[in-house]
Subunit: 242 residues, 2 copies
C-alpha cells in the first residue's frame, strides 16, 4: 500500500474498486454494506480467496471501519469470509465438506417443507408459483440473470409460505448462500432453461396431489448442481479447498 507512484495506485484497481454502494440514508449503513458484500461474493464478483481489508473497503465505499467491521462479522457467520486476526481477511474458499453439509441441509429442509406444503396446496398457491416461473422465463429471455436468480429464490420460498413455515426460509437461505457460488459456477446459461422445466414438474406433481412425486422432482432439481460441481473442481481449482 505504498503510495509511491501512480503505478502503485493502479495496483488497487482490482475487484474491490467495482464495489459501489448507493446509500439510502434511512437505512443503516452496516446493513447496506453487508448486503453489497454478500451479493458481490455470491455472484463471484469477489472470487474465493480475494484478500479484503477493512481499511480498503471503507476507503472504497466511503464509510468508517465500524459498519464495515459489523458487516464482515456477519459474513463470517455466513461462512463467506474468513478472518485471521492481525493478519488479514479473505473471501472464503469453497469448502467441499461445507458444500456437502449445506446441500444436505437445504435438501432436507426444502423437501420436508414441500411435503407440508402439499397438505395445504390450493389452486391459488399453484397460480402464484406458476406466475413466478413465467417471470423467470421472461427474465431468462431478457438475459437478466440477477433477476432470474431473485425469482428462483422467490419460487423456493413460496413453498415455505404455503406450508405456513415462513421462519424456515431464513435458514434455508443461509444454507443456500453457502452453496450458491457452486450453483453460479454450474449455471452455464445452457442449464437455466432446464431449471424452468424442473420447476414446472414440481408444480405439476403438486397440482395432481402427488407429494411423493413432487418431493422426487425437487430432489432431482436440487441434485443437479452438485452433480455438475464435480466437473467444475478441475477447471476452477483455485476456488476450492478440501
Amino acid at each position: 500500500m505504498v503510495a509511491a507512484a501512480a503505478v502503485e495506485i493502479e495496483d488497487e484497481d482490482d475487484a474491490l474498486v467495482r464495489l459501489i454502494v448507493h446509500f439510502d440514508r434511512r437505512r443503516q449503513v452496516s446493513d447496506q454494506v453487508y448486503e453489497a458484500l454478500k451479493k458481490a461474493i455470491i455472484s463471484l464478483q469477489l472470487p474465493p480467496g480475494t484478500l479484503i481489508s477493512e481499511n480498503r473497503i471503507c476507503r472504497q465505499i466511503g464509510v468508517s471501519r465500524t459498519p464495515v467491521r459489523s458487516a464482515i462479522t456477519r459474513l463470517v457467520e455466513d461462512e463467506l469470509v474468513e478472518v485471521f486476526p492481525q493478519k488479514g481477511s479473505l473471501v472464503a474458499p469453497i469448502k467441499l465438506s461445507a458444500v456437502r453439509s449445506n446441500h444436505f441441509i437445504r435438501k432436507a429442509l426444502e423437501i420436508a417443507v414441500l411435503r407440508r406444503a402439499s397438505e395445504a396446496w390450493t389452486p391459488e398457491l399453484s397460480a402464484r408459483s406458476r406466475q413466478i416461473v413465467t417471470s423467470q422465463a421472461a427474465a431468462l429471455a431478457d438475459g437478466d440473470l440477477e433477476h432470474f436468480h431473485d425469482l428462483d429464490q422467490e419460487f423456493h420460498r413460496s413453498f415455505c409460505l404455503a406450508a405456513n413455515l415462513e421462519g424456515v426460509w431464513s435458514t434455508i437461505q443461509i444454507a443456500k448462500a453457502r452453496v450458491d457460488r457452486v450453483h453460479r459456477l454450474a449455471s452455464g446459461v445452457g442449464r437455466l432453461p432446464l431449471v424452468l422445466a424442473e420447476h414446472g414438474a414440481i408444480l405439476d406433481a403438486l397440482d395432481r396431489g402427488d407429494p411423493e412425486r413432487a418431493a422426487e422432482r425437487l430432489d432431482y432439481h436440487l441434485e443437479r448442481a452438485p452433480a455438475i460441481m464435480e466437473t467444475l473442481i478441475g477447471s476452477h481449482e483455485k476456488y476450492f479447498v478440501e
Copy 2:
C-alpha cells in the same frame, strides 16, 4: 434510569449484575461476551423481555462498548435479542411461530442426519453415544444441570459426526438455541430421567439396525418439549408473544 437517589441505583441490581465473565486474555473479548450473554439468555438467567443496554453491560463486565456491540449483533442474528434503534434492546420474547419453525428445522435435520448415521453405524459409535448417556445420568444424579445440558448437546451432535455431516450441527445448534428456552421451561426435573430413557431407546433401535424405529424414537423425543410447551404458555405468559 434517573440516578436521583441511592434507592434508584439499587434498581440496577437486577439480573445483569450477575453477569460475571472471567476473561481469558488469549481469546477475543467479543467472543467471550457473546458466549456469556447467550448462555445467560438460554438458561433464562436473563428472562425474555429483559431490557439490556450496551452501556450497562459494558460497565458491568468492564469492557468497552465495541465488543459488547459485536456480541449483541450476533445475538440478533440468533434471534435471541431484539434491537430498537435509538430506543433500546431487550432479550427477545419467545415467539410461538418461531418456535414452530425452528422446531420443524431441528426435527427435519436431526431425523435426516439420523437416517444417514444409521447407514454408517458401528459398535464404536454406539459405545461413544452410550458413554454420553451414562455421563448424563451421573450429572443428573449430581444435580449438575448445566453439565447435563452440555452432554445433551454432545449426544445429539454425535449423530452428525457418525453421518460425516459435522457441518450440519452448527445449523441444528442455531435452531436448537431458538427453542432451547422452551426446553428449559419444560424440563422440570421430573422430565429429565425420561430424557435418558428416550436417548437409550434411540440407540437401541440403531444397534438393532432399525433406522425407521430410531427415527420414530427421535421424533417422539423431540416432540416432548412442544407438547409440554402448550401447558406452559399460561403460567409464563409474559415470556411469550403471538
